[in-house]
């Protein structure tokens, strides 16, 4: 009873790794990663290395949707030249997906707020 209130009684940070509860998922994910690399080859390995960065990027994107616009600006410069050096399948879809994700991020971020009002709509009408 007392232990739940006392911060010195519970483990935190890397100390948690001492418990088998955290070892088992770690081992399972290691096995899955090893199985993927051995069956699917180098591409799967690279994908697994890139995956954490993508997750971190997506977290930032959902916190700050304007990142999507900046990324699209950078990708616009980089993508076309990249295909000259390496064959990346479906690379063109990345711009589409980031645009759509930015929209989703904006939508979720402003779900419970009043949002931007009709200002963007008016500006869009002016633009067109």
């Amino acid at each position: 009873m007392l232990s739940s209130n006392n911060p010195f009684e519970s483990n935190s940070g890397s100390l948690r790794l001492g418990s088998p509860r955290f070892y088992i998922p770690l081992l399972i994910s290691c096995f899955i990663a090893a199985w993927l690399v051995s069956t699917k080859g180098l591409a799967a390995g690279i994908a697994l290395i890139v995956l954490p960065f993508i997750i971190v990027y997506l977290t930032f994107l959902f916190q700050n949707p304007v990142l999507g616009i900046y990324t699209v600006g950078i990708l616009g410069f980089v993508i076309l030249g990249t295909t000259r050096y390496v064959e990346v399948p479906m690379i063109g879809i990345s711009i589409d997906s980031i645009l759509v994700l930015s929209f989703l991020a904006f939508f979720f971020k402003n779900f419970y707020e009043k949002g931007t009002g009709d200002r963007p709509v008016k500006m869009l009408l002016c633009w067109h």
Binding site: Y70, G73, I74, R84, T116, W127
Partner: protein
């Protein structure tokens, strides 16, 4: 956007995958990017972040272009040229610089546009570091445009700066700007100064009404206008795409693609 959506009903479309992939770039990007930018870039700080990213990449593109001009292309770029791009990118033994963008046309247009934006932006800066940074990006952009040998791109700075001078509504700036534009125009159209420079020589042909390239383009326009007169809503979007061309190389209009 509406045209893109409606063109799905174009009876000439045989392959809807090509329609979809072209629809993305022709219509969807434009709509999505405009809406997102209007909504999300809503403070001056965010706008400047965007300008910084753009300027840094514009400088990188120009520097890569300068490296291509002075050092030469690398193995992968040479392979790309050998696959067929040499027809439009090696003219009279001289490389049309394309940097790490898709082709020299895009490099020229992009750098001309970036050059105009950053030079104008640098005029408005009070912070000296920022001013020189944008000026540097702008000048490199205009230089990149000349390296690319894209003649169409030269109209971008001419018209861009002219519009800026008019919008400034300052008589002295307008008059001096107009004089500068006239000088640039006369330099290209009526003089032969710097003719031994490949870039200047190529840009100069953009002002020549008897230029062989222009005459070919006009002839193509006449042929296509006859062809399109029986097709009121156009051939279809995506006909000239690389993917489209593979599947529709038998089509008459594909002959006129620049790609």
């Amino acid at each position: 956007m509406i045209f893109g959506l409606l063109s799905v009903a174009n009876p000439e479309i045989k392959n809807y995958t090509i329609w979809l992939s072209s629809f993305r770039t022709v219509s969807m990007y434009m709509l999505l990017i405009i809406i997102l930018s209007l909504i999300l870039i809503n403070t001056e700080k965010r706008l400047y972040y965007f300008f910084y990213i753009w300027a840094i990449f514009s400088i990188l593109v120009s520097l890569k272009g300068i490296a291509q001009e002075s050092i030469g292309v690398d193995a992968w770029e040479q392979a790309w040229l050998d696959r067929g791009a040499y027809k439009t990118h090696l003219l009279f033994g001289k490389l049309r610089v394309f940097s790490f963008l898709s082709d020299a046309g895009q490099f020229g247009a992009n750098q001309a546009y970036s050059g105009v934006v950053f030079i104008i932006l640098s005029f408005a800066q009070k912070n000296l570091v920022r001013k020189f940074f944008f000026l540097f990006a702008g000048i490199l952009g205009i230089y990149g445009m000349f390296l690319s040998g894209t003649r169409g791109a030269i109209s971008v700075p001419l018209i861009g700066f002219m519009l800026f001078f008019i919008l400034k509504r300052n008589k002295i700036i307008l008059i001096s700007g107009a004089v500068m534009m006239v000088v640039v125009f006369v330099f290209f159209k009526y003089t032969m100064i710097g003719q031994d420079n490949q870039q200047i020589r190529r840009m100069r042909t953009a002002f020549d009404p008897n230029d062989a390239s222009l005459q070919t383009r006009l002839a193509n326009q006449r042929t296509l206008s006859v062809y399109l007169s029986s097709r009121p809503i156009g051939r279809r979007i995506g006909t000239c795409w690389q993917k489209g061309a593979e599947n529709s190389s038998q089509f008459f209009s594909c002959k006129y693609c620049n790609r």
